[in-house]
């Protein structure tokens, strides 16, 4: 009994309260956007609001079970759970059911599960377990590689579905690694290459690879100028490049050479880089090698992205293009965002009131109860409601950071930051997409979006952390 008392006393009730508020608020919104359908059906077993209620019930039972378990259970079970969900992720590729083009559902009778939602949790536990080992050192190459493999493997399986949104969520783990000592440069470089990846896809769609190459060259030049503190270099190299381009252009004009635009830039870059390298060898400047190396890598990277992309089957290419908003004839995505913004915007300061939304009720945005649930918040509860929701999320995240920091065991802290990263990523991407500051990537809004798997998975994540936190004084896992 004593242990139980302690446990209850040690539960972080702030987080639990926020969770409950979010859950109730989420359900009300799911009800609101699906209510009009119930006019014709009655609140029957098939209605989304009812189904969501069932999942909330299931989640609460699971929470209870989590509290019954020993806190060391999660560390102990981390690898088996990881193995199990990796198996499910592979299984779903074979026997999964496709919805919206991604094969990500396992359907068993009336219940359909999305293993990718749970895979995030399992990966989080596995990474935490691996990194909390006594002799783990991030500076050791082997340890770092295994850490990345633990994250990368499920990420690639999810990408194969293809569920690009969930794939990106796995990138959020970088934040955890950063907290645990990964160099900040990794974050910047990975972020940079992610950006380069997206830009490449966009640029290659418009057949303007040369612009990308020019930009990369320019960036390299600027970086060098800053490092070497010699503005004169900027002038000299620009002049050389300019002359080169004009020369080659001349040859092309008179049909002596047959070159595409990006080949011209390519040759220019090559020549300038060679000159820079010779200069670097003569003057023994190491930073030149670094910069030229990076530049070469970036250029090769962009070309391989294009190559891999063109090898993909047509419908995968289409999906990526649609997601990036590149297929003009498929106006649906752009239309969704526009409608979503109109709905949110029309809520104004205080909102139209619960069940008073004219834009909601799923009339415009097909994915509204799931990915676009925030539109319902914005329309019905206005700026007050949506800002309140953002504030509540922020409060939750800040609180979770505090919880993570107060853990004595590394395992618990990593789980804590894992939860923070995944939640942050989800809500940042989801809300940004609905208000038109991020491309449409279908990932749910934690605790609000309609969908059993994601709700249950987020609940489990949160309460495993609360459970670990509640016994932080008892064990040093």
């Amino acid at each position: 009994m004593k242990r139980q008392d302690n446990l209850i006393a040690n539960i972080d009730w702030t987080v639990v309260a926020i969770y409950l508020v979010l859950t109730v608020f989420g359900w009300l919104n799911v009800y609101a956007v699906t209510a009009s359908r119930e006019v014709f059906f009655g609140v029957g077993s098939a209605s989304p609001a009812f189904m969501q209620l069932v999942w909330i019930g299931i989640s609460l039972v699971v929470v209870f079970v989590i509290f019954l378990l020993d806190s060391r259970f999660f560390s102990f079970m981390a690898y088996p759970l990881y193995g199990f969900f990796m198996f499910l992720l592979m299984l779903v590729l074979l026997i999964g059911t496709a919805k919206h083009g991604a094969k990500s559902w396992i359907v068993m009778g009336p219940v359909s599960l999305q293993p990718s939602e749970f895979a995030k949790l399992a990966s989080m536990l596995a990474v935490a377990r691996f990194m909390s080992a006594y002799n783990y050192k991030m500076s050791r190459f082997r340890d770092l590689v295994i850490t990345f493999a633990l994250i990368g493997f499920p990420a690639l399986l999810v990408l194969a579905q293809p569920d690009f949104g969930s794939f990106l969520v796995f990138m959020a783990f970088l934040l955890v690694l950063y907290r645990e000592g990964l160099s900040g440069w990794v974050l910047i470089v990975v972020g940079g290459f992610a950006l380069l990846f997206l830009t490449t896809l966009i640029v290659q769609h418009h057949n303007m690879h040369y612009i990308l190459l020019i930009s990369l060259g320019t960036i390299a030049l600027i970086v060098y100028t800053i490092l070497a503190r010699k503005p004169i270099v900027l002038l000299i190299i620009s002049a050389i490049s300019g002359i080169l381009v004009v020369l080659i252009q001349f040859f092309v004009e008179y049909d002596i050479l047959k070159l595409e635009k990006d080949q011209i830039v390519w040759i220019t870059l090559l020549v300038v880089s060679l000159i820079a390298l010779i200069y670097g060898i003569k003057e023994k400047k190491r930073e030149i090698f670094m910069i030229v190396g990076f530049l070469a890598f970036a250029v090769i990277f962009t070309y391989s992205v294009v190559m891999v992309f063109k090898k993909l089957p047509d419908h995968h290419q289409d999906r990526i293009n649609i997601m990036l908003g590149l297929i003009p004839e498929d106006n649906d995505k752009g239309y969704n965002v526009e409608q979503s913004m109109i709905a949110i915007g029309s809520g104004q300061f205080i909102g139209k009131g619960f069940l008073q939304g004219t834009q909601t009720e799923g009339r415009f945005v097909p994915e509204q109860p799931t990915d676009f649930i925030f539109t319902s918040v914005g329309e019905q509860f206005g700026f007050l409601g949506s800002f309140g929701l953002v504030a509540l999320y922020t409060l939750l995240l800040v609180r979770l950071v505090i919880i993570a920091e107060r853990q004595r065991s590394r395992f618990s802290r990593i789980v804590g930051y894992g939860v923070v990263s995944v939640l942050l990523f989800h809500l940042a991407v989801n809300i940004s997409m609905t208000i038109g500051i991020f491309p449409t990537i279908g990932i749910p809004l934690p605790f609000l979006s309609y969908g059993g798997s994601s709700f249950l998975a987020f609940t489990m994540m949160l309460f495993i952390l609360i459970r670990l936190d509640a016994s932080r004084k008892t064990y040093l896992v």
Partner: protein
Amino acid sequence: MEQYTNRKFIILGIILLISLIISVRLFIIQVVMDYTGESESNILRKEVVYPHRGLIFDRNGELLVGNKFSYDLKIAPYELEVFDTTLLCELLNVDRETLIRRIQNVLKHPDERYNPIIKQLSDSTYGKLQERMYDFHGFYFSRRTLREYKREIASHLLGYVGEVDAGVIRRDRYYESGDYYGVSGVEYSYEKHLRGKKGCRYLQIDAKGREQGSYKEGRRDTAAQKGRDLYLTIDADLQAYGEKLMDGYRGSIVAIEPSTGEVLAYISAPSYDPSLLVGRQRETNYFNLAKDTLKPLYNYAIQAQYPPGSTFKPVNGLVALQEKVLTTRTTIYCDLGYYYTRYKKVRCHDHISPLNITHSVQHSCNAFFCHTYKLLLEDKKYSSTAKAYTNWRRLLMEFGLGDKLGIDLPYEKGGLIPDTTYYDNIYGSGHWRAATVISLAIGQGEILLTPLQMANMAATIANRGYYYTPHVVKRIAGVNQIDKPFTVPHQTDIDSANFIPIIDGMELAVNEFHGTAYWVRHPDFIICGKTGTAQNPHGKEHSVFMAFAPKDDPRIAISVYVEHGEYGARYAAPIASLMIEKYLTDSISDNWTRKNMEERMLNGNLLYSE
């Protein structure tokens, strides 16, 4: 261990920064900017605009397949209001329960599928309903186009259009539930050209469900693009005439222009009216046609595989000449047949004997071709019968036999010219000889050809050694050239000089008093032809004829196959002759022989019970 604790401030900073950005953005769109106006006039409906399917013309530009409008009644689930169900039921002529069930069905999946309440309303229903639409909020029409057939011909060639099923949608992302696509014929093989491109329209609807014009001046709309028109290679009049001739028979006529490979007529009999497979009655009619004992849906021209009978002799003769196992002066004695073993005899009919190759074609002498075939397979140039056989088969396949020709129609069959393994499996390797497969000499036995292949064989002979892959589309509007495979000639390995004696024989067969098809000759041009009588264990023998005309400047090559037509000259030859005359002179000359022939063919009946 705790050296990175400070990083928590950076992480907290990231969290706060993101929240700040989102909050500022929310403030801008919710408080600073005014979206209320937009939201009010913004009750929207997204409509797919279906393109017109490409039209289909014949080679002379006569319209064969057009489009007509039809209307589907749909509902906008979120705009539906209480309405007078009795009145609607009356207008639509459906019972109340069906209507309610269909509406509920749509409401269950409001976003997912093309799910009209009633499909393809008749013009009068549409008219009546249109006048009362203000009574029914949330109901609207979706305009579709259906095929309209101007002439009741070429159904097997044209194919038909139907609604996509789940499999089609999975294979091609373009399609959505409710779309139409070409299921067979050229509708199928040229689907990508014919279908055009769907457009989409965003309409503003006021609170009463009335259209208020386009959304944002149509900036988000995309126009539907009309499908490309097809110009077929067939001649509609010739096609119609052929179908008239073949009415009452089972079989096929295929006519090809030898110089291009263009199919001039493509008849599969019995046939059906293409308009049956349009619109609401399509499924019922299809079902009825499918269970019709006459099998009108079967595409005999490219799917029936028949023994060619004696029409096969010319190519066997060509191979023999090419392989030099005989010359044009070689004559072979025929004693009412040919003993290919001591006791077994292929029988032949009574004719002058001995004959050289030209006159053997003329008289269709079995003995000559059996002996020739024996010479071919026992040729000392080759170390074994199998090798000689393989070479014979190779030369034949260059005529487009034994494999699909690759016509631009779906579900073509390839016929059969067995390879050596086929006989090895039956008789054992090395245990079969010329005598074993002697019936191949006269187009019997295992050999099978589609009517299209027979016509192509005639075209190749007409061309003296090459052919273009037969095709049925001459031109696609807006596309420079038809597909490459149809513009490259296929050369056979037979020297063109070797065709002379064979073609002479085919000329004599029709134009000399002792020829097998003398009665179908035409005074104005020379038809070169070869009759065939294909043995049929299941009933009367089949009547086969292959021909081309005129002899020196062939403009048409043709094959006619009439099941149970008894012998080549009985049905197939006159039908081919009439088709040739129709194509070359546009009409049947007004003399007694020709008119009588036409009448006999038109009145003949081997199909329907009296």
